[in-house]
Symmetry: C2
Subunit: 438 residues, 2 copies
């Protein structure tokens, strides 16, 4: 028994063309794909040449016409951007249609509103392609790890910055030089801000956090530091000390706050972070992504693969369509949803105050090349209860010295206070780098 | 709206106790867990002390009583072994009950019979815990990768052998010494054959192959070589050449055979294999497992984590229970199954003849320490169209020399013929090792 399912596509860019290509070539893929009919596609310009052959009659420049088409059962939104994507998704839900989207910006900002509308309408909004490109991570979080108390989700979830950081480490190259090269090669956008400032990774960790911990957080409150001010010397020093530098996104559960016992506090951040060479994330290079999930009783699992690109992202989009197609075979009479696939919130969560969270730190000071400075810095950290793992003078000349400190896990409040005090020490010229460290 | 679901457990060993422990402590896990009632448990000995507190009245020594109990909706088989596990699974299916099992031996050998019975009865048999311990791999293959044409599934799927190989590499230690130590530490069984001879890995790759390619293969026809005859010098030589040695299980699709066009030929094997240091599987050490899936259009994704142990395996078992509980919320009227979750076969597959498959090879010869032997070996490979990547003399003394050859990808038939011919060359004393190579 099979049911044909009409697919309406909003957008025929890289990902949209990848989706159409899979649907046009079902041989050798899961047989359910042959039940999917691509019935309508919204494009910006009907006359553009396309990388795939398509029946021109299904193209329209009106995305509303796709959403409203009675032959469209599932709306696939791969146009990107906040609007009109958000409005079109809401319109599809209101029409009782399930939605598949790769749009992390919309989900990170309007996920609550969209999820509530979908639950009320009895439809699914599936988002596997929004995080990690082709890597199955949304579905495992929803359907394979629910028996765990998740402690931490961390990962390399932006391919552009990982490509830049990998080349900086391999070649000892400067950030700006590698960025220009990445732009020429199409790995970075002309306006790279969303990637290099960590905003894309913040969208994605907001989504992962919501699924891992069962409740949404305020996307705009996530501590976010990018790589645009990262200096190649810090990448070099990290290498010398046995680390790689990655733009790491982390969401971690904290002890409940007694004054706020019904909501789970989470420490969520995006920042350049030193990763020890023997850590599973250290070997993730180039445009690859990887997400590490830690929980009880599973321990630590990692999901690794291509974090972007037409094919991988389309693979994830079609996986979501297949899941909706699979569930439809059950023909539930009353609009009930599978609670795992629907993944509605089940717990209140909130962002902890950054000063109350903790981490290991890498800091680099410029100092005068004079005896006693290292000792004074070390003492000052001690006075503020900041426990140090190593303090190393890495370069020294008449112009001054560079001192790199790696701390143990310390409260960010203590760390800020210590850094402020160190700034006032005689012989300390400047704090030139402050990164996270695993 | 929620539906309470009665769980019957067959077995209360390491995994069973882990499952019970999760069900007893639902706080902080997916809320659906609170809807699961552990109503009956079959144990071998009622009087044994247990690591967890349990209502003694739900224990029974009769597994049939658990399966037949009308309060049991889902039967969880974690007793292991072929019988009576197979019969009990079939009995549960006949009673219209879905089954969750961690039993790779039963599924690898009787999967077809069990799947057919489950489809006929309209119930699920879920097996996430059968491969890769806690790593979500069964569910991603079924529900997240269906849009792909899978080309290859390969992985490190036996924790015991990976532990032994990791220690051999780190310590330069001998196989037998590390095995004894692993037995003392509980990482290897008193009778280690199932692990060290590759039989456990062959069970698991048979299961992964069936899901990845859509059809079952003959478990008993899988080419299987274990690590019990692996010599530490080959691990050392591999290290010198930039490789690690892993017990690798591989299932790979081949070009359809024109004489057999309706069935997909697969090359499936388990053997010690050299993995280049920059390959994602190279960093998988100790009792960890990892599975690499390659397909079009996704490229390459990897799933990594703890391959065994009470907690991780229980995490996978309870994930399967949750999936059944989630689907039950839909109350399908007519016993239809979600085809992705049910994962019935959709294509005929068969094992290709080993002589017709190809691979890279690592071989080590003992030869006389005489000039010209390397040249004669190289020429002989060339005469048999075996293309060589490197040929190195690694040790030489009056007693003889050791020559290590790494080939490019060559047909196993050609390779066998070349090795036979080399055996007859003057100065070649013996072929002492023959491993795969990525």
């Amino acid at each position: 028994m099979s049911t044909r399912i009409g697919i309406g596509l909003l957008g025929l860019g890289t990902v949209g063309a990848g989706v159409a290509s899979i649907l046009q070539t079902p041989e050798g893929r899961h047989p359910l794909i042959a039940d999917l009919d691509l019935v309508r596609i919204a494009v910006r310009d009907r006359n553009r040449t396309r990388p795939i052959a398509l029946d021109e009659s299904i193209l329209t420049t009106s995305p509303e016409a796709v959403v409203d088409d009675p032959a469209v059962d599932v709306v696939v939104e791969v146009m990107g951007g906040i609007e009109p994507a958000r409005t079109l998704i809401m319109r599809a839900i209101a029409a009782g249609k399930s939605v598949v989207t790769a749009n992390k910006s919309v989900i990170a900002r309007h996920g609550e509103e969209i999820a509530a509308a979908a639950a009320a309408a009895g439809v699914y909004v599936l988002i596997e392609a929004a995080v990690g490109g082709g890597i199955p991570i949304i579905e495992p979080l929803k359907q394979s790890l629910g028996s765990n108390r998740i402690q931490r989700v961390s990962g390399i979830i932006n391919g552009t910055t990982n490509y830049i950081l990998s080349r900086m480490a391999e070649e000892g190259a400067d950030y700006n030089a590698v960025l220009r090269d990445a732009q020429d090669l199409g790995y970075a956008e002309a306006d790279p801000a969303a990637d290099v400032e960590g905003l894309d990774a913040a969208d994605k960790i907001a989504i992962l956090s919501g699924l891992a911990f069962g409740g949404p957080i305020d996307r705009n409150g996530i501590y976010t530091a990018g790589i645009s001010t990262l200096q190649s010397r810090d990448v070099d020093y990290a290498t010398q000390l046995g680390y790689g530098v990655k733009l790491l996104a982390v969401a971690e559960s904290m002890e409940p706050d007694p004054s706020h016992p019904t909501s789970l506090p989470l420490a969520v951040s995006v920042q350049p972070t030193l990763v020890p060479n023997d850590h599973p994330l250290a070997g993730v290079n180039g445009v690859n992504n990887a997400i590490l999930v830690e929980g009880d009783p599973i321990g630590r699992v990692m999901f690794y693969g291509p974090g972007a690109g037409s094919g991988p992202t389309a693979s994830a989009v079609v996986a979501d369509i297949l899941n909706i197609a699979g569930i439809r075979q059950l023909k539930p009479a009353d609009g009930n949803l599978d609670p795992l696939l629907a993944a509605s919130s089940w717990r209140a969560c909130h962002l902890a105050n950054k000063e109350q969270t903790s981490q290991r730190n890498y800091v680099r000071f410029k100092t005068e090349n004079a005896p006693g400075v290292i000792g004074r810095i070390g003492s000052c950290f001690g006075d503020h209860n900041v426990s140090i793992q190593s303090i190393v003078q890495l370069e020294a000349s008449d112009a001054g010295a560079e001192i790199v400190v790696i701390t143990h896990v310390v409260g960010n409040g203590q760390m800020s206070a210590a850094l402020k005090a160190i700034h006032a020490i005689e012989g300390v010229l400047s704090l030139d780098a402050h990164l996270g460290c695993l």
